[in-house]
């Protein structure tokens, strides 16, 4: 049972702000963490391998600093970690990211499952895992809160709006983990220190047969043209009038702000 986990290092979003002058994202001084849903994916992978044998390989596409997150994944029990880092990959959107990851996964080869997080805390799109599944021609099961491997099939419980769905797919398949799936373990210090000593290979685009025209800025169909802080009109507004009148005015304002 070989499991590949796609993991992203993300800024701790609760602390990310927009610079009001330049309208750009302030990343300085914001701590980086493993995308929380990816921790669930790692935990699930480690549990599967504890049960069925095999190995867990964690891969991330990111800047050299992402190595830190890979070490945390190793401490959590992953057997191997790969850092996919190349200037050509920077600024990839979800299509390009999923293309790049699918190329790297082909290079790893020999896998039964690919686990991802439900979505990344920063980009928040949830688009990379289905993209990976498509580019590898594999079935996908998103929003998974529980899974079980029976023979050559994986059976997963998905959390949807107001209902659960139990789905079965042939392996290999791509699954995305929801936070309700498990409680990610807190690695012991021995594992943390051992993980520090492990070799983490760094792969570049050429080594994975990645077409440079399909990744990075060039390979990304979407383009962010503007970022800005959501408006928190804090100039409080007092609504005058008799109760009926005030209520109607309020509802208008809330409706205009799409709140009711």
């Amino acid at each position: 049972m070989n499991v590949i986990v796609c993991m992203k290092q993300v800024p701790d979003t609760s602390e990310v702000r927009i610079d009001p002058e330049t309208n750009t994202i302030v990343r300085e001084g914001v701590p980086s963490i493993i995308n929380p849903f990816d921790e669930n994916a790692i935990e699930a992978a480690v549990q599967l391998v504890e049960e069925h044998g095999g190995k867990v390989t964690v891969i991330t596409m990111g800047p050299p600093q992402a190595e830190q997150a890979l070490r945390e994944a190793l401490a959590m029990g992953a057997d191997e970690a790969i850092l996919l880092s190349d200037r050509a990959l920077a600024a990839s959107d979800t299509l390009a990211t999923s293309y790049v990851l699918s190329c790297a996964i082909r290079r790893i080869g020999d896998y039964d499952l690919i686990l991802c997080g439900k979505q990344a805390f920063d980009g928040d799109t949830a688009q990379v895992p289905p993209g990976i599944a498509e580019q590898l021609g594999l079935p996908q099961i998103t929003y998974v809160i529980g899974l079980e491997v029976v023979g050559d099939k994986v059976r997963a419980r998905r959390l949807l709006e107001g209902r659960y769905e139990v789905v079965e797919a042939r392996m290999p398949a791509v699954l995305t983990a929801d936070k309700h799936m498990n409680e990610p373990r807190r690695p012991g210090l021995k594992s943390v220190l051992a993980a520090k000593k492990k070799e983490i290979p760094v792969w570049d685009a050429a080594g994975c047969d990645i077409q440079v025209s399909s990744c990075g800025l060039e390979g990304s169909p979407t383009r962010v043209i503007r970022t800005f802080a959501p408006s928190h009109e804090h100039e409080g507004e007092m609504i005058e009038g008799d109760p009926r009148d005030a209520a109607c005015q309020l509802v208008e304002k809330l409706a205009a702000a799409k709140l009711v």
Binding site: R186, P187, G188, L189, K190, V192, L193, K196
Partner: protein, 383 residues
């Protein structure tokens, strides 16, 4: 002089900080109110291998130095003082075995203590032997291949919940302190039981039980160090324990400071944040300065120990300064919180009560000053 930690140490501290922020701190109040030994938190720090930090790798530990152990104790104390206290008291059993144990004793007792599978405790204090530790009256007699112990110990941290005990008893009362011996006891040994668990003004969930020996049967091979060397074992253990107490006080004071500086920037009176009042700012400045001073003293004592130097005086200085500092700082934290600080809705009133303990255990402030003064006079004797 190098104040930098190694990469490994930074990794460890970061992991412990995270554990404290995410797990221990949020439930610290609950842990204290429960009045029950904090097994949950103890298991959590055990799973993180924290108990193994000062234990050599060959005995299942991480083989880190005393400084690393101390900083982890500080962080735990900031997160949850009770858990920090458990961690500190545990070391009082680990350390004498490490320092004085035979290979067999180390092989037998250290691995489960390193993983936290078993918790340790140290029994010295008796109703009639507090500051005057040499006055221990628990009797030991050699009968065949067993030492037979009779007497009681009180206030023993982790007592009853721990599995492994290092206990001081007197084999030859006529020889005074030179009759003292140290023994390793296991919970469940014949004739070894537990009495009252003290009710205290704070640390409600830390067990401080009476150890009762009624013809307790201790196998001969459980003698730690040599006959008559018990006082030395106790003093060596307490010397290290002082570093633990000093750093625990630093950690607690830090928690109080953190709460105070946050509150001062939220609370408004006279149309402004109270942090804008100079009187509050000065309190915060003094608190931070004193904490830093105590921290540096404690780290230095740990560092001296790791260098193999004589750390006893430095550790005593750190302990007395840090514990008294902690009382001042926690009291100021309550002051900054005003009436709210006096309610049980905020943790600072608990911090203030907890702080007092550090001035008492493992040698009261008075005893620390005695130790310091004795050393000073010895070092500066006029010829």
């Amino acid at each position: 002089m190098d104040f930098a930690f190694t990469e490994d140490q930074e990794l460890i501290f970061e992991a412990v900080r995270e554990l404290c922020d995410e797990e221990l701190k949020p439930k610290a109040d609950e842990v204290d109110r429960a009045g029950e030994y904090p097994w949950d938190s103890v298991r959590q720090i055990a799973e993180m291998d924290l108990f193994g930090i000062p234990v050599p790798e060959e005995y299942g530990g991480l083989g880190m130095d005393v400084l690393t152990w101390a900083v982890v104790g500080e962080l735990l104390s900031t997160g949850c003082t009770t858990t920090g206290a458990v961690y500190g008291a545990h070391m009082l059993a680990v350390y004498p075995i490490l320092e004085f144990g035979t290979d067999e004793q180390k092989e037998k007792y250290l691995p489960p203590l390193a993983t936290g599978e078993k918790i340790g405790a140290f029994g010295l204090t008796e109703p009639g032997a507090g500051s005057d530790a040499g006055a221990v009256s628990t009797r030991a007699e050699l009968v065949g291949d067993h030492y037979v112990l009779n007497g009681t110990k009180i206030f023993i941290s982790n007592g009853g919940d721990a599995e492994t005990y290092v206990v001081i008893a007197n084999l030859h009362p006529e020889k005074g302190t030179r009759g003292l011996c140290a023994f390793i006891l296991e919970k469940g040994m014949e004739g070894f039981s537990f009495g009252k668990n003290e009710e205290k003004m704070a640390f409600h969930s830390l067990s401080n039980r009476e150890l009762v020996f009624e013809d307790a049967q201790v196998p001969k091979e459980n003698l730690l160090h040599r006959e008559g060397r018990g006082f030395r074992v106790a003093m060596t253990t307490l010397a290290l324990g002082r570093i633990g107490m000093a750093i625990g006080a630093v950690g607690l004071a830090q928690a109080a400071f953190d709460a105070a500086i946050e509150y001062s920037q939220v609370r408004e009176q006279f149309g402004q944040k109270i942090s804008e009042f100079e009187a509050i700012q000065f309190m915060l400045a003094d608190m931070a300065t004193e904490i830093e001073m105590a921290r540096l003293m404690s780290y230095k004592a740990a560092w001296l120990k790791d260098q193999g130097g004589d750390f006893e005086k430095t550790a005593a200085m750190a302990k007395v300064y840090a514990s008294e500092m902690c009382s001042r700082v926690t009291s100021k934290a309550v002051q900054i919180h005003g009436g709210y600080g006096y309610t049980t809705d905020y943790p600072v009133e608990r911090y203030m009560r907890e702080a007092k303990l550090f001035e008492i255990v493992e040698g009261t402030s008075e005893i620390q000053r005695l130790v310091i003064a004795n050393r000073l006079l010895r070092e500066n004797r006029l010829s």
